[in-house]
Subunit: 313 residues, 2 copies
């Protein structure tokens, strides 16, 4: 699956993931009203509004980027109806040829992780029939439980040619509280990074890159530099660009010298672009065009940073 | 909410949680067949079988225990239909007066944790209406992202009088890989435990116990002893009894001298009791009675261990 992601990055020339993390407040009034007229101000109405909003954005950006990352929490908060919108979004994006990274941050003891892996990446058997639950291409995984919580996900990735991004150093302000604690003179996130590299060896998805990648926040560029070295064959999914403060110039060290190895996520900065002053002229009715403009700007920012990195070599 | 849990424990004299972690292979044939006849061998059929199976167990044990802990992964693996079974199970158990601990092990950056908290413990607003998604009483939370990933859950607990069990030392064999790493000469899980105690101060649910508890595996009794001391006012949810190897005698140090402070989970050992040799005479048709017998035996095991602890004081 990493091979498909890399092919998409090379084709679009955009190491960019669009984070589909909808909040009702991001959704233009005309979409919300239409959904509420049909389904009332209900959870179903909310789910319908989210789905329509997502579809508009996906249609507007799907030729520009290789991948999307729906954050399941934003759907799960609306219960079953929200999760139906999640499922429809995943399927629609896959049908459009996009790589879908389910940002689910699951992780549990072995048998439980196996169930999550089956539901999000693999299959379940019911009697003599086999089904797929949510069917993402990659999912994010929390490593706090150690190897036996992660390996069931890896096994399914091997069987299904799918992939993971394992949390190593997260983008939030307090991520250092535990992740940066010094263990034998080195921060914990480095040990997790080393383990990601080891786990990844059993799951090479291309000659250079493993199907097992890592999450490292754009907000910690110096740590990204170290982790890039520790996990040379792990693709790094980098959240925290844009709304959380990361900029193109901060990101160059997340990439390898081959120009690959990282993919940058922006969520609010793209999907709610129409609410920013810069893109206000689009208005709510053309919100998806505003998202397209924001992707193009992000692509330019990252492209320029990568070009100036190349000149350094 | 911890007050309600404690009241339930005192009333039933059973510091026991029944883990509702169904696998299709646990479900007696007559229940599966009935569901498949009605809905086919489909995800809906699987969800229906799980729900009927759970209902039988809940009916059989609800007067014996204060709480249940559905593990959402076991439902999520069947996609939307599985989650509908989860939702029905949560609602049914609450209607029966049981405390429901959603074993969801979520945790993310602040705004995302806020969405999980809203969906599982709190409310969401759609237009002028307010709804509840899954509406558990407690949920389990992963601490790897630090305070700003946990605090949105705590805020909702304060508003809604609900509670958390935060992963400190998990029951699985490889939990030590990161959790036991030495930080300034002490294992990481102790630092997490200290943080749980601090988080809990803002969320006292009774005079003696906080609404913010901890997860510590029965499989690590010595560590439980230390953590009991570090977090004196945190209720400890103890998984790993039975199928994972924990025994009553291992558990006494998880309790405080007041005889409270811990609640022991057993999943497979209770819900799939009818498949054990010991309870084989019940057969699949009386699977729920086998679960009841297993609860009674667990109650006796833990009661005897606690009584012998009391004699020591």
């Amino acid at each position: 699956m990493i091979r498909k992601l890399i092919a998409g990055i090379e084709k679009t020339d955009a190491p960019i993931v669009v984070g589909l993390d909808p909040m009702l407040s991001f959704i233009p009034e005309h979409i919300r009203n239409r959904a509420y007229e049909e389904h009332g101000e209900t959870l179903k109405g909310a789910g319908e509004a989210i789905w329509e909003y997502n579809r508009g954005i996906v249609d507007a950006v799907c030729d520009l980027v290789p991948a999307v990352k729906p954050q399941i929490a934003m759907y799960e908060q609306f219960g079953i109806e929200g999760l139906i919108a999640f499922e429809r979004t995943v399927r629609y994006c896959r049908d459009k040829g996009l790589v879908v990274i389910g940002d689910i941050k699951r992780g549990d003891i072995g048998s439980t992780s196996a169930a999550y892996a089956a539901g999000h990446l693999g299959t379940v058997q019911v009697g003599t029939h086999v089904y797929r639950g949510f069917d993402e291409d990659f999912v994010t995984v929390n490593p706090y439980l150690g190897s036996d919580g992660v390996k069931p996900f890896i096994r399914v990735c091997q069987e299904e040619n799918k992939g993971l991004f394992i949390l190593v150093k997260t983008s939030n302000p307090s991520s250092g509280e535990f992740q940066d604690r010094q263990v034998d003179g080195r921060p914990l996130y480095e040990l997790v990074g080393e383990q990601v590299a080891i786990w990844g060896e059993d799951c090479m998805g291309s000659e250079s890159y493993s199907n097992i990648g890592a999450v490292v926040g754009a907000t910690y560029p110096e740590m990204g530099k170290t982790l890039r070295r520790i996990m040379p064959r792990a693709y790094i999914l980098v959240p925290g660009y844009g709304a959380q403060g990361g900029k193109g110039a901060d990101l160059v060290h997340f990439f390898n010298e081959d120009g690959l190895g990282a993919v940058i996520n922006s969520s609010r900065g793209i999907i709610a672009a129409w609410q920013q002053e810069k893109y206000a002229s689009f208005g709510g009715s053309c919100y998806a065009d505003a998202s397209r403009a924001a992707v193009l700007e992000m692509k330019e920012d990252i492209g320029a940073a990568l070009a100036s990195k190349k000149r350094l070599y």
